[in-house]
Amino acid sequence: MTMMTDLMVGDARKSRRIDWSPYLVGAGIGILSWVAFAGFGDPLGVTTAFSRMASLFAAPVIGSEAVTANSYWKSMPLKWDYGVLFLVGIPVGAFLSAIISGTWRLEMVPEVWKERFGPSVFKRFVAAFLGGIVIMYGARLAGGCTSGHGISGGLQLALSSWLFLAVMFATGLVVSRLMFRRA
């Protein structure tokens, strides 16, 4: 815990920290899932709605006709449904928490990255962009992300989701070990 706090506060001495227990937060997300299931009939998830939104950005690149004709977006067209509104809510809530707790801070290069790869903003941006491509392609291929598969699928004891969790963590451990290995 101390190390983590040091990493979080690190160079920004002014920024305050949050003392909520991770178990409390996890229980909160679990209870939020009850409401999502019973109240809305729509488990917590992010990337399905993200794909719907992506068609907005795809139109100027590949043409709106290509978007309309695309079989994937035909199966999930852009609409302001539960998932998309949920997606819009996430940054709102995170922003409120960050402002209220005093943990909002501009971050160009995170500490762990800086320690290993140096302070280059360009290098970090390129990696974040490429990582973003890979993570979203993977999420759509698998049919969900840490929320939709990991939490919502995991808590339903879905075979697909536990396979996702196992492979995702195993791959992450290996890649992390390679990436943070000192030369």
């Binding site: 979080m8 937060v25 795809a58």
Partner: protein, 185 residues
């Protein structure tokens, strides 16, 4: 009134989720990277508790007829390949899609850059969907199955095992963290 709720309801749900992610520190790239480096177990603590607490509640809600399961297709090859890509992306990016959205709102500029990458990834998937559907999604497609269905082990046993397993892991993690803290002084 109904239309107001249909907009405000999901927005509020998302906002509570985003609030919890930020309060749980999992919108921090450092916390996520250090989970995969086994130096910080915040991500596992949050996810493990969410799965056990959420799962027991949802099980009761299903049993009492208040909801149903929304299980994703077990297209085993696609899920395995997708999860492997996801693991690579998560370590390189330092976020998963939901935590990235929270991180952007709490000031992470590199998370915002990666979000454009995520848009590109979603577009690439849509463009390759016909091929993926014909060659990958249909391999070892077992349907919407749950672990209790294929193993014959009832839900209650699964959750008891999960709760005990997660509890034991967390006790061990807390003990190691306390020890490390004492060693640091």
């Amino acid at each position: 009134m109904t239309s107001l709720m249909s907009v405000a309801g999901p927005l509020l749900m998302g906002a509570v989720f985003g609030y919890l992610l930020q309060q749980g520190k999992v919108t921090s790239c450092n916390v996520i990277e250090n989970q995969f480096r086994l130096r910080d177990f915040t991500v596992l603590k949050v996810m493990g508790t969410a799965i056990v607490v959420g799962g027991i509640g949802v099980l009761l809600l299903v049993d009492t007829g208040n909801t149903k399961y929304y299980v994703k297709d077990a297209n085993m090859l696609a899920v395995a390949l997708g999860a492997a890509l996801f693991g690579v992306g998560m370590v390189v990016y330092g976020y998963c899609p939901g935590t990235a959205l929270g991180a952007i709102a709490s000031g992470s500029v590199h998370a915002a850059v990666g979000a454009f990458g995520m848009i590109v990834g979603a577009i690439l998937y849509a463009l390759s969907f016909d091929w993926v559907k014909a060659h990958i999604l249909n391999v070892w497609a077992l349907g919407k199955v749950r672990l209790p269905d294929i193993t014959g082990v009832p839900d209650a046993i699964w959750f008891a095992a999960l709760a005990v397993g997660a509890g034991a892991l967390f006790v061990w993690v807390e003990a190691s963290e306390a020890k490390a803290k004492r060693a640091q002084g």
